[in-house]
C-alpha cells in the first residue's frame, strides 16, 4: 500500500514540474523576459516532450527498441494538417480545429501503429529495431509522394502528381508531394502544447501504474515467465505499441500545425534517433527524466548558438561524454550521492534502484 502511495506522490511531482514550468514560461512570455529564439522553441519543446514520453512507453516500459517513431509523428502531422485545412470553412474556431486535428492524428497514427505492430512485435531485439526503422522509412517514402487537395466535392488523393488529383477549379492543394504541406494556418499554441503534455502524462502514468502496465512491465522483465503466468504477451505488447503510436500522432499534429510549411523528409531516421536520445539520456523507463532531457536537449543547440558553426559539434561531444560519464560505475555513484544530497528530484524510481542494488550485490 505504501509503495502505491509513493508512486502517486512521484507522479504528482512530475505533473507539478510541468505545471510550474508552464506557469514560469508563460509569465516570462507575458512580461517579455524571453528571447525570440526561445519563444519559437516553446511549442517544439512541448512536442518533443510528448514524443519522448511516448517513445519511453515502448523503449522503457515495454522494453523494445523502436527506431521509427518519427514515422508515427509524420502520420499524425499530415493527418492533422489535412483535417485542419479541409475544415477551415466549416469550423471557424481555431482551437476546435486543433483539437479535431490532434484527435484525427492520434487515430491515424494508432491505425499505422496496428499495421506496423502486428508483424513487428513477433520479432525481437535488434531485428525488431531494424523493422521499425524500415517502417519509418516506408512511411516517409509514401508521404513524400503523396498529393492531397480539397475542393467543393471533398478531399482528393493522388500518388502521381498534383494534376491527377482531378480537383475542381476551387480546389486547393494541401500536400504537394516532396514539397510537403504549404500554406498551413498555424493553430498550435503554447497552452495547447501544455495541455497535450498533461493529457499524455496522464495516460502514460496511469497506464504504467495500472494492471495493464504491470503486465507490460512483466513482459519486459521476463517474457517467458510472464507468458507462463497467463499474460497475453501479444495483446499487451500491441496495446503499449499502439498507445505509444497514437500519442506520437498527437504530438505530430501539434508539430505540423506549428509551421506554415512542412515536408515529409523532416520526419526521417534522424528525428527518430533524436527522440531516442532524449529517452536514453533521461533514463530508460523514467518519464520525468524524459521530460527534462527533451527540454534541455531541445534548448541546448539554441543556447550554443554563440558558438555558431561549432554548436552541433559541441552537442555531439556533450552527448558522448554524458553517455560515458553516466555509465561509469565510479563516477555514477559519486554523482548520485551528490545529486541525492542536493535534492531528491532527480533520483531514479525506487524499483530501478533496487534492481541496481541487486546487481551490485551480485558482483
Amino acid at each position: 500500500m505504501k509503495s502505491v502511495k509513493k508512486t502517486r506522490r512521484k507522479d504528482f511531482i512530475t505533473y507539478g514540474i510541468v505545471v510550474i514550468a508552464f506557469i514560469v514560461m508563460q509569465a516570462l512570455v507575458m512580461t517579455g523576459h524571453i528571447s525570440n529564439s526561445l519563444k519559437n522553441q516553446l511549442i517544439p519543446i512541448c512536442v518533443y516532450i510528448c514524443m519522448a514520453v511516448s517513445l519511453n512507453l515502448v523503449v522503457g516500459v515495454l522494453g523494445d527498441l523502436s527506431l521509427g517513431h518519427a514515422g508515427f509523428m509524420s502520420v499524425g502531422a499530415f493527418t492533422g494538417i489535412i483535417v485542419a485545412m479541409s475544415l477551415q470553412n466549416a469550423i471557424p474556431s481555431g482551437a476546435l480545429r486543433l483539437v479535431l486535428a490532434i484527435a484525427a492524428g492520434a487515430l491515424t497514427a494508432a491505425v499505422a501503429g496496428i499495421l506496423v505492430g502486428v508483424p513487428v512485435l513477433r520479432l525481437r531485439g535488434d531485428y525488431l529495431a531494424i523493422v521499425t526503422l524500415a517502417f519509418g522509412e516506408i512511411i516517409k517514402n509514401i508521404i513524400t509522394n503523396l498529393y492531397v487537395g480539397v475542393d467543393g466535392n471533398g478531399i482528393h488523393f493522388s500518388f502521381k502528381d498534383a494534376m491527377s488529383m482531378g480537383m475542381g477549379l476551387d480546389g486547393k492543394a494541401i500536400i504537394n508531394g516532396p514539397i510537403g504541406a504549404v500554406g498551413v494556418t498555424k493553430l498550435s499554441t503554447f497552452t495547447a502544447g501544455f495541455i497535450l503534455i498533461m493529457v499524455i502524462l496522464f495516460i502514460t502514468l496511469n497506464l504504467i501504474n495500472s494492471r495493464t502496465g504491470r503486465a507490460i512491465k512483466a513482459i519486459r522483465d521476463n517474457r517467458i515467465a510472464a507468458e507462463s503466468v497467463g499474460i497475453n504477451v501479444t495483446k499487451y505488447k500491441l496495446m503499449a505499441f499502439v498507445i505509444s503510436a497514437a500519442m506520437a500522432g498527437m504530438a505530430g499534429a501539434l508539430y505540423g500545425l506549428n509551421y506554415s510549411g512542412l515536408a515529409a523528409k523532416k520526419f526521417d531516421f534522424n528525428t527518430s534517433i533524436l527522440v531516442l536520445v532524449f529517452v536514453v539520456l533521461g533514463g530508460i523507463g523514467n518519464i520525468r527524466g524524459s521530460i527534462i532531457a527533451a527540454t534541455v536537449l531541445t534548448v541546448l543547440p539554441e543556447a550554443l548558438r554563440q558558438f555558431s558553426d561549432y554548436r552541433m559539434l559541441i552537442y555531439a561531444i556533450v552527448l558522448i561524454l554524458v553517455m560515458i560519464v553516466t555509465n561509469n560505475p565510479l563516477l555514477r555513484s559519486v554523482a548520485d550521492r551528490f545529486i541525492g544530497s542536493l535534492t531528491g528530484l532527480f533520483r531514479k524510481k525506487p524499483a530501478s534502484q533496487t534492481a541496481e542494488g541487486g546487481a551490485d550485490n551480485g558482483k
Binding site: 531485428y127 509514401i142 558522448i320
Partner: protein, 295 residues
C-alpha cells in the same frame, strides 16, 4: 533481355558496395554486440580523404585509396578506444547513443573542414573504357567492373583471414564467448580494436567506390548507404559474414530492379518492404543463426 541483364549488373555493382559496408556492421556486431551507427560516416570520411588526395595533392587514385584506408583504419581504432571502450559493460542502448554521438561528431567535423557545398568526386578509373558486349548492346562501365572485382577480392581475403589466421580465429572466439576467449589467453580488447580497424578500412574502400559510382560528395553522403547497408546486414542475418555479402548484393539488385521496373519514387519503400517480409518469414535473416532461448 539486355535491359534486364544491364540492370542486373548495375544491381550487383551497387550491391557489392552495400556488401562491403555491411561487412563492417556485421563484424562489429558479431564481436562487440553493438550497432555501430557511425559506420556510415566513416565511409564519408574515407571518400573525402581520397578526394583531397586526388584533387588537392594531385596524387594518383591508387595512392589516394591507400591513404583513405590508412586514415579510416586509424579513425576506427581511435573511435573505438575513446568512445566505445569505456562503455564495454554498459547497456547496449547507451552504446547505441554513443555511436550516434560519434556519427554527429564526424558529420559536423566534415561540415566544418570541407563545408557543405557538394564536391564532385573524380573518377578513379579514368583511363578505363566501358566494356562492350554482344556487339555493343550491353556496355559495362569501368567502375562497375572495378567495384565487383574489389568486392570479390575483399570477400575472399576476409573469409580466408577469418577462417585461417590466428587473429581471425581469435575474432571468432571472442564473438562466440568473450569470457571463455579471455580465459584462453586471447586479448579481447585488442581483438575488438582489430575488428574496428578492418571494418573502418573496408568502409574507406566502400566510400571511394560509392563516390566513384555516384560522384556527389557532401558530409551526409554516408548516412543513407549506411542505413541501407545496415539493412543488408540484418537481411542476411546480422553477425554472419556470408550473410552480409548475400544481403548486400540482393539488396542492390532489388533496389535497381524496383527502380527500373516498378517505381522510381517508391524504390526505397519497396526495398524496406522486402526486408520486412524476409524477416517475418525468417526472423533472424537469411543466413542468421537461430538461437534457442534458455528458460
Amino acid at each position: 533481355m539486355m535491359g534486364i541483364l544491364s540492370n542486373l549488373i548495375s544491381g550487383i555493382s551497387l550491391g557489392s558496395i552495400y556488401a562491403i559496408i555491411a561487412l563492417g556492421y556485421t563484424m562489429v556486431y558479431g564481436i562487440a554486440k553493438m550497432l555501430n551507427f557511425a559506420h556510415g560516416d566513416v565511409i564519408m570520411v574515407g571518400a573525402y580523404i581520397c578526394y583531397c588526395a586526388i584533387s588537392y595533392l594531385g596524387l594518383p587514385p591508387l595512392v589516394g585509396i591507400v591513404m583513405a584506408i590508412c586514415v579510416c583504419t586509424v579513425l576506427g581504432i581511435v573511435i573505438e578506444g575513446l568512445a566505445y571502450k569505456p562503455l564495454r559493460s554498459a547497456p547496449s542502448l547507451a552504446v547505441l547513443i554513443t555511436a550516434i554521438g560519434v556519427s554527429y561528431f564526424l558529420q559536423n567535423s566534415a561540415l566544418l573542414i570541407w563545408k557543405s557545398d557538394p564536391k564532385v568526386f573524380p573518377s578513379i578509373v579514368k583511363s578505363m573504357q566501358p566494356v562492350q558486349l554482344f556487339g555493343g548492346q550491353l556496355a559495362i562501365s569501368g567502375i562497375t567492373i572495378v567495384t565487383v572485382l574489389c568486392c570479390v577480392v575483399v570477400m575472399t581475403c576476409l573469409t580466408l583471414f577469418i577462417s585461417k589466421s590466428k587473429t581471425g580465429k581469435a575474432m571468432r572466439a571472442v564473438s562466440e564467448d568473450k569470457v571463455a576467449a579471455q580465459l584462453m589467453g586471447i586479448n579481447v580488447n585488442g581483438t575488438i580494436s582489430v575488428t574496428f580497424a578492418i571494418g573502418s578500412g573496408l568502409a574507406a574502400v566502400a566510400g571511394v567506390l560509392l563516390c566513384s559510382a555516384y560522384p556527389t560528395l557532401i558530409p551526409t553522403t554516408g548516412a543513407m548507404p549506411g542505413i541501407k547497408a545496415f539493412t543488408a546486414a540484418v537481411f542476411g542475418g546480422i553477425g554472419s559474414i556470408p550473410g552480409a555479402m548475400l544481403g548486400g548484393i540482393l539488396l542492390g539488385i532489388i533496389e535497381l530492379f524496383a527502380k527500373s521496373y516498378i517505381s522510381t519514387q517508391f524504390s526505397d519503400a519497396i526495398v524496406f518492404a522486402v526486408l520486412i517480409i524476409v524477416l517475418l518469414i525468417k526472423p533472424t535473416g537469411l543466413l542468421g543463426k537461430k538461437v534457442s532461448e534458455k528458460v
